[in-house]
Symmetry: C7
Subunit: 95 residues, 7 copies
């Protein structure tokens, strides 16, 4: 099964988050949304979305930080994907 | 009875979701909206919707993932259809 | 008494909904808005509405599905009408 | 005292609603907003309102249906008027 | 002390409202916002406000009806003024 | 430490409000937002803000009335400043 | 690991806030959002964001005041970064 995103949507596969920081310190609880790392699996074609021309600036294989409460989880072939809009991607992670 | 969608609306027929993952593991409850698979039954003509030119990029017969809380359920001839806007369709599913 | 809608408004007369499905099965309660069938009684002239050019694509006599929570009920001459915007009409019903 | 509405505002004088239907049947309670009949007392000049060109399509003396929760009540000379935007007027009532 | 309003703001001085109607009848409580009469003390220059060209159509000395929940009260020199946007003024009152 | 505001932001320093009116009368509690007087400390360059061209019409040293719930308090060098958008400034106070 | 922000995003590293004022006085609790100082670590390329041309006016190394409730915290290499939109940056701090 293959997910082909429409418009400015991007299909992400979440990377496993390390649960503790290296120093083992748990930061105090915060009301902020928790960001997440993911890998880009597929990128929509862009074009006119909600009446605005959207150019896609990300590509398959990139690791990205996205906003946790954005997007929709999709289960396909035993994997969980997340479909977000490109504007929900905050930054590309380079190693 | 035949539903002819207006503007950027799309008529969907929901596909039955498998209730467990292949591995039988139930993922922990999440507050995210649950996506759904559906087949496209009819596609509106597009055109000017809310003052914006909308081009339709989906077609009858495609299987799609859409946002669960989007759309309106319609019962017709013993079938339940869902009418959504094209922008509520997240991705096309190819096998 | 005759209702002449303004702008992109459409006057509807609700059709009686069958309360059970043909198979007699009651679908489980859902939080979705319930759609409704209605007949179009009168159609506004369209034109500039909220600063956007609106073209009317429906006509008197058509049966339509509209969003239940849209619109305003009006009682006139012992009949109950519903006045909605054209964009609240989801699909035309053809038999 | 005379009320001269600004922009796209319209001054209405509410008509007394009959409290029961002709058949005497009370329709079951609904969460919908209750529409109301009124007579147009004065019409603003239109023009640019919120950055959009508004043309006035109603005139003094017309009976109209308007959305109950729209508008502001004004008491003047022992009369109660309602000032609404033209877009809150749903339909003109012709007899 | 003199208040010089910016943009589309208008400085109003509230007129004392008569607490009963001439006929002495208290109208039943309503959830609507209560309008108020005021005199215009100063008018802003208009111009580009929130990216839209605003032309000022009211002038100092006019009596107006404005929406009660709009605006900000300002105390200056033992007087209470209200600063509203021109679009919060519903009608001019002529005697 | 010097605060250099960006875009249409303005840095204000709040003036101490007299707690009673000259006549010593406490006006009855009101649900309206309380306005405040402040002095302008620094003015942003304006330019394109949220896609709209903003021209700055206030200048350093002016006393202004601004909307209390607007803006962000900043502590710097033992002083408390408030950073607001120019559109949150209601009027200039001239003595 | 390096964070490369997209569009109008800016990567910030929070500076430690002094917990008391120099005079040691705790200002009374306020419902306002608390601002924060941070250093700019990386700046997105700007360009078309939500259909509007955005020019970036901040640069790496600047100290800025930003709105606390804006942005998303990201943990990377034992550091906590905050990714905000440029419009969430209120002012540049010069020493």
């Amino acid at each position: 099964m293959k997910l082909v995103p429409l418009g400015d949507r991007v299909v992400l596969k979440q990377l496993e988050a390390e649960e503790t920081t290296k120093s083992g310190i748990v930061l105090p609880g915060q009301t902020k949304e928790k960001p997440q790392q993911a890998e880009i699996i597929a990128v929509g074609p862009g074009g006119i979305v909600d009446g605005k021309e959207i150019e896609m600036n990300v590509e398959k294989g990139q690791k990205v930080i996205f906003s946790k409460y954005a997007g929709t989880e999709v289960e396909a072939d035993d994997e969980t994907y997340i479909i977000v809009r490109q504007s929900d991607i905050l930054a590309i992670v380079e190693e």
